[in-house]
Symmetry: D2
Subunit: 350 residues, 4 copies
Amino acid sequence: MESKIPVGILGATGAVGQRFVQILADHPWFEIASLAASARSAGRPYGEACHFILPGDVPDRIREMPVLPLEPGIPGKIVFSALPADVAREVEPRFAAAGYAVCSNASAFRNEPDVPLIIPEVNPDHLALIPEQRKTRGFPGFIVTNPNCSTTGIAMALKPLDDAFGVEKVIAFTMQAVSGAGYPGVPALDIIGNVLPYIPGEEEKIAREARLLLGRVESEAQVPADFQVSAHANRVPVIDGHTICLSIGFRDPPAVEEAMDVLRAFRAPAPVRELPSAPVYPLALRPEVDRPQPRKDRDAERGMVVTVGRVRPCSILDLRMVVLVHNTLRGAAGGAVLNGELLIAKGFVS
Amino acid sequence: MESKIPVGILGATGAVGQRFVQILADHPWFEIASLAASARSAGRPYGEACHFILPGDVPDRIREMPVLPLEPGIPGKIVFSALPADVAREVEPRFAAAGYAVCSNASAFRNEPDVPLIIPEVNPDHLALIPEQRKTRGFPGFIVTNPNCSTTGIAMALKPLDDAFGVEKVIAFTMQAVSGAGYPGVPALDIIGNVLPYIPGEEEKIAREARLLLGRVESEAQVPADFQVSAHANRVPVIDGHTICLSIGFRDPPAVEEAMDVLRAFRAPAPVRELPSAPVYPLALRPEVDRPQPRKDRDAERGMVVTVGRVRPCSILDLRMVVLVHNTLRGAAGGAVLNGELLIAKGFVS
Amino acid sequence: MESKIPVGILGATGAVGQRFVQILADHPWFEIASLAASARSAGRPYGEACHFILPGDVPDRIREMPVLPLEPGIPGKIVFSALPADVAREVEPRFAAAGYAVCSNASAFRNEPDVPLIIPEVNPDHLALIPEQRKTRGFPGFIVTNPNCSTTGIAMALKPLDDAFGVEKVIAFTMQAVSGAGYPGVPALDIIGNVLPYIPGEEEKIAREARLLLGRVESEAQVPADFQVSAHANRVPVIDGHTICLSIGFRDPPAVEEAMDVLRAFRAPAPVRELPSAPVYPLALRPEVDRPQPRKDRDAERGMVVTVGRVRPCSILDLRMVVLVHNTLRGAAGGAVLNGELLIAKGFVS
Amino acid sequence: MESKIPVGILGATGAVGQRFVQILADHPWFEIASLAASARSAGRPYGEACHFILPGDVPDRIREMPVLPLEPGIPGKIVFSALPADVAREVEPRFAAAGYAVCSNASAFRNEPDVPLIIPEVNPDHLALIPEQRKTRGFPGFIVTNPNCSTTGIAMALKPLDDAFGVEKVIAFTMQAVSGAGYPGVPALDIIGNVLPYIPGEEEKIAREARLLLGRVESEAQVPADFQVSAHANRVPVIDGHTICLSIGFRDPPAVEEAMDVLRAFRAPAPVRELPSAPVYPLALRPEVDRPQPRKDRDAERGMVVTVGRVRPCSILDLRMVVLVHNTLRGAAGGAVLNGELLIAKGFVS
């Protein structure tokens, strides 16, 4: 790639927006050309407008960039969106209508039948919805979304198992990090030394999005996979990294070792595995009896790998296992950036 | 009761032993007559031998009591045992053989066919194993055990549901407090800002003990209930209070409201509900969408109530819910003391 | 006291307001007659308007009480104010002007020369400012304040030492709980596994208020004590309880044992020590080398005692020690209620 | 450097030992030639003998290396020691006597008059004690130590201030991470949601070592600096990174800006600043009012920089400031490795 592709970040000052900045500051294909945020921040240098909550510093070049308003016209071919759902619902279509490729981490359009919900290693072919979306909505650009953070971990672990053994039933118990709620997000008074057994909307998102991701696109429409998902979503006092316990029932139940072999061997299809943010193996299998753990495993492969451990039988369904996903990297900003890379590789953006 | 019944505490200096001291220091029926611990502590005043880890102070009278060795002959009709399993296995039979009623919190004898595993509100009739135990083992005394801390919460929530609707399948996902591992127990380096998705032996204990507790005693033998339990046990950075998510399948699946009514109405059988440590209603149902929570609910009714919330449908089994149990009170020392009270009420100790 | 004195709570739905509800629900002298809060809450039952963040439940009677607007006319002779400083500045004078005795936990009027800043055990005589305040401001009622949470602990520990040895210099280093910042307050993302070495305005409040509390009232004006205080304020991941390390220089430096004797012997003056919320000994001295600790010591004497430990020499000043105060009980709502009791005992309210 | 210098690690399986492995696995000058630990681990492959507690994995090559006994003869010119003090006292002299250069992180020999206690940026000239040590003890090799973790941060911040303005008095308040206590170290039950206001021996170490580091070597003997240090040491629920509040008195008190200029401009002497582990500027000055913070600043410059913030006046001494040091990197393994690099640069090892 001779020169980098200019990209913008919508909602650049928030928790996920900062992750976009961190990932894109040194990206081999993309160059941050614009940072946009709500009226409150617009007009100020990013370094001032943004209360940076990640370790390390805002890169010098980015620090001085002005925050622009959330209006089409800002530099960039792709815009990565870290907007809150309600803002995204209004703003993202304006960008698609102005010709931008919108890679959105927001939940606003994840339910729309013509908007692809993509994990490149899982369902890159769902990009086939883009022409339909453009036609229906009259967009010169388009919107592509990545799933909810927990769902990303679940769907990536399920994908090779579903291909090999046919997933029929999934019970998912999550222990989610506080960064998943954005900033300021969860009050310390609620979560230090405590567990919150409820995250608004999360259980429904997991059930719906997991089936879409493992479903197929047929005659320009999404057909969800026909397994059932029942989720229990919990918040725990962890900074980053969602830990998820799964009980899974299969059409052709594998032995533990067969399942482990399939998880270990999982590779993305050819165009995906060469993307710069894609790990060689999307799943890492830990042999230790007490792994994965969020603090020890979340940063593996720059937070882009999903770690699986404790694969063992389940006396109710067929297998139990533990899955860990870095919720603001693979499960949010990193997932959206990987979608952006896929769009390049597939020729949707050039 | 004119004068109090003298009791001893085995393993009095450990984490659960300290809870026994705290509960029994002002008990209406029992009086601490002896404190026993390993050779390292024996001979020193309790206040010196014990690194007290609970808030508040060792009561003055107790502080000066000498720690005795773990040998029969110490004052007390009942001994409450907070011994580690390997020590309990050796020491508890010696006490039973010397005529003591041993109320053990240890797991050492929970598997023996002739040793009752008791939650008074759930299966007080299992005390019927005592004569058999005495006969088989030639004990003038006997051993009674209470279940594992997580199992206590699970079994108490399942009991009224099983009676009404027939429990068939249970998937239990636990988020357990660090006090469950004793002291020093879990290293801070392992758990601050982290989750450990494994607790040695815990998943097996939950599966086995839940079925024993809801089973029956027939011709002097325990017959486990025939439902299946599959558990996922996790450690989280919480001091006290185990939070457990359940997915439950029933023979006659109830509507959510029916299940809630049954949980709310649950009462212990007549002799149990008058015991001094028994809450009027063993289960508390919280209406809030984000309860129970360990820090807010564990101390309800002096830690003896089990709190249930978020009863809702499950798309794989029938119902989902969240259960909270104070693991070192109801789930350990408090459960054993309640067993001691039941022994008095039933005439096994006088 | 034949019948209880009706009191109101201003800002009843916030973190400190909830502590007022908790303390006053069973108070021997006071009865909650009204609950007032901002327009957003007014008109709704307290149980609905308030997201209760304390363990346990809102008492049934209180739950149904309507939240009233922040306007004089609400039932109560005393109003306890948990208002934010900016709201307090406007609302509290309106109540004093309408004849109420205002016991305020807000910082709004702590700097006014005619408004008493009171810890009953430390400077009950400062109530002598009330007549001056009434005259100057034309209030039929009046405003009395209690100090900042950290300062409360510091001033109580310094008082007997100052009386006996003359405090000249104080370096105070605080490790403050998150509840001190109210609710929602500190974001979990900022504080889990972290320390924040800055609390806005806190260091200045400590320096100023400590000198006022140990100062005197002369010709109807406050004369601050003339020692210096330098504070370092930090936030740590603790729910309740501020831990404070002190290095103190004296005019007549005591030996460690002398200082400990004086701390241990400290009693409030006669009318104060009989107040229902006053502990018999305002200071508790712990002998253990690693105490006080917030989780173990904050709740001693219903959170109203200040715990001191580790009294030892300082090579720069004279003595080092550690002080612990429950920041939302003694350091906030409990301190204000004790001030209210003092007003009764001294005849300012009848 | 044509080929790398072989080094050994003593106590390789512990918390600091693992940091040595992590740092040395890719070191430009050193190559891990041997891993030694107590008899319990010796003979097993490192990957098995070691419960690795750091994020990420043991490098493949290291994982298979056998753990050797703590006996001279193991490959390596330098041995880096992470041994506990009591073991170090016995083992380290055996290695020095066998010709090894021992870079010890243990406290065992920090008090010996002929053993250099070194921070390369602060007192590299103290290596001049080595010939004396060799002569006195008859060692062909020698022992060099690095200071206690907290002292490292304090001494690095004081050094340029002392050079410019003459430090006279230091009060140091520490909030120390749990990794400073090794593994298993601090029990979670003691520290979650809590503060421990005591760390055995720490306050004395800080006072003694800070004066040695800023002192001088004269006629082959250490002459401590003549300022006073009074420390208050606390443990807080943080994984890595010690935060230290300082109040400092000077002979020639600087203005805040002067002090900041001096801190910012601090550079190591010429041979030190080129060492591979030395940051270009040993101190990083943060401008934000709420920095440094352990989670955000500890990893700057691979954990080798000390971060300073909140420089402001002190009403008792002259200046207050906050210092942060990564306790297991710069304050332990990283400091020892930097000492090893200094030994190479100065020709003590070749």
